[in-house]
Subunit: 242 residues, 4 copies
């Protein structure tokens, strides 16, 4: 049995992060290699025109379209923690998911999932109240949407409690801590730059169900979907194994 | 036959114009008196929490919920002309209508119509390319939405061409010019402050099909819906005649 | 000896918090009663036109003009904590103080002091790194500026270390905790609404050098300047004792 | 006599146009080749950190630092016309120039000039009221600042009337119309991409006092400063002739 036959995992990527005159990311190059695109919705990145183009691109490649809402902080790219209340989080998510629904409808495309971004993603992984607000926002807009969240974290529990289908996400290019959380981006070694390491971590997670933490321990993971950032890592993995 | 029996007109009002710590308008006081609420969508005014509260308020009063998208200019309240291309207008509308769809869905409310705001409203009344972009954006998000626009203007033509149902709007508290357009806000006398004048203009438009321009001429109008701003004028009209 | 002769304290007030079409505060009513105006600089509130008008108003009343910079969060009014780095804080302060310098220069007015706003004020009271970044930003723009900060907190230490003159601020209308910090706004009783209580706390702080915490303890304070918000409290205090 | 001896012209470049996570321009590569840097001030592009870094870079290269204020339209990069009143323009300029003053002061750098950006630049070239508002804003902040503006346009007149020193700007890489204005960016041929053409136009303007319009006519120009965008054109010109 070949490796290709054994591996079945959704590859997702954060996209539509350009804004006005500013270009970020390599959406056109990455789109052919993934199965789910997370579309930034204008709060931490993205704008209406970028969203339209990226949804069209995803549709052309048969890639699933999901909302990627974040904190209202363009200057900080949604990576700075913000003290929003669960109510504010809920309202912001409903708005952003709706905005993408509008864009998708205008192209007869479907929105299939929601994955929150950056600092909100991290907060939702450990804060039950935020996680619950997020899950309810998704359910209240459309209970058929999948919730994509950090494997093993609060957001997965919140999604299940809200009656949503959940996709547990793992990261091929991020270092893990012994407790199953990611090494914060501002620490050295947070992001793997060695492509072979990225590929091995991806294979470990998807085919063997574990990831090796920076402490050396093997942590069990369920990998429903794998986040792939960076063209090199993505195309490398895809070319060889997908 | 009483007056009340003869008058049948939709009363619409621009709402949800507060933002963050800032309060604008008298939504709670006006809502009981109108039949359609135009919800600002966060570009020229409004925010996700204000939208949620206003949709809930409309639903509680059995008032129709519509999108009220505008230029991306919070500081200028969408009243400053901006050189956006028709493509940018289209994308911005799809986004804003979608955002309101999300908010409405989360409350099992329906979005029934779209009316653009301020400087965009004025531009769409005379610029066929902008009007067409607006009509297509509405149709592409949901072809069942009504387009509300300035009676006798380009936007009505564009809506009909796009296959939309249109509602011709008249203004009870704005002075008209001989060509059927409104006296610009920055000119004296643009907004009627005399309540009796507002009421008479309303009755002329709704029951007799004309409005008296500042030049003294009677201009024929079709009044499917009447914009009512200001608590005094609205409640005065409603108490006496609605 | 009359009370009026004994009391000598700077009365400061946060101002210029309106934005575009939105009005907040009662600047015109309060200005005659205070001695220092803290001007919002466009990040958490305020805009260039509001700044100009408020500086002119302060100048007309012989009131000192100071910068009141905050987090870049208009929707949250700068009251939500944000995870900005000390470098980002430094840069944001230099920018905002400079912006007010421009406004002041254009009116031949002088900027005398800087007091940071809201969540940043609270963070700077307890986080030495943020406090240091703030003090250095002020010093680097103009070492003659006074730093106004929470009495007894880190920001006062940071200001002294940076070689700045500091003004220790006390609050007449905020409840204190036993450790000398303010009761957070989201807790009940955080803000005194009883004018007589406000006045008594003001007199205790200014003339007797203490404030009574919610726990009942008397906490020693040095009151170089007193923050006064709200028209009622301010005018009441001023009319009777200033 | 060598060419180098004959050519004496200020080379200016628009800079500091990155924002938060977004990078735009090649400031580090261009800075060694120019004599004046126009620093975006956060309205149409730029942010406080980008401003700090760019001022430091300019200072390190002995390049003059100027303010480059624009319309408050980050999404449109200040290139969309906006209907601001002269008062709003004035206030926005005072604010932005002040912000850069703050940044410059914090580094013991000097601000020497002001050049407005994009759509505001174009509007100020033909609208006397806007031009006057701009000139007065500059003068009121610091009457020693140079005003840089389109050679032969209203802004130059307004600057002289306000008592400012003015620098007439010419463009090496933009096509001119017979009336001395630039071919709008949205028309074909608006920007020269042929480096040899850029260099020839630059030399014609600086050494011979004319530019050849698209109609073939020679238009007289006074070239106090030349705008140089794009690394290729800039370094090519500088290497050969500066």
């Amino acid at each position: 049995m070949s490796l290709a036959q054994r591996i079945q995992v959704d590859l997702n990527c954060d996209m539509a992060e350009s804004f006005g005159p500013y270009t970020l990311g390599h959406d056109e190059l990455i789109m052919p290699h993934i199965t789910s695109a997370n579309i930034a919705c204008g709060f931490h990145a993205g704008d209406p025109s970028v969203m339209r183009k990226t949804v069209a691109l995803a549709k052309a490649h048969g890639v699933r379209v999901g909302a990627h809402p974040g904190y209202p902080d363009l200057a900080g790219f949604g990576r700075r923690q913000m003290g929003l209340t669960p109510h504010e989080i809920y309202d912001g998510l409903v708005y952003q998911i709706g905005a993408l629904l509008g864009v998708a409808r205008s192209q007869n495309a479907e929105v299939t999932h929601v994955k929150v971004h950056g600092a909100l993603y991290n907060a939702a992984a450990v804060d039950e109240r935020l996680a619950t607000a997020i899950a309810r926002a998704i359910r209240d807009v459309d209970s058929a949407l999948w919730l994509v969240g950090m494997c093993g974290s609060e957001i997965i529990e919140a999604g299940l409690t809200a009656g949503l289908r959940v996709a547990r996400e793992v990261f091929a290019d991020r270092a893990y801590q012994a407790d199953g959380t990611l090494v914060p981006r501002n620490l050295p070694g947070a992001v793997h730059t060695d492509v072979s390491l990225v590929v091995r971590q991806a294979l470990d997670m998807v085919t063997k169900g574990f990831v090796t933490a920076v402490s050396g321990e093997r942590i069990p993971v369920s990998a429903d979907t794998m986040c792939t950032r960076g063209r090199a890592a993505c195309s490398s993995f895809c070319e060889h194994y997908a």
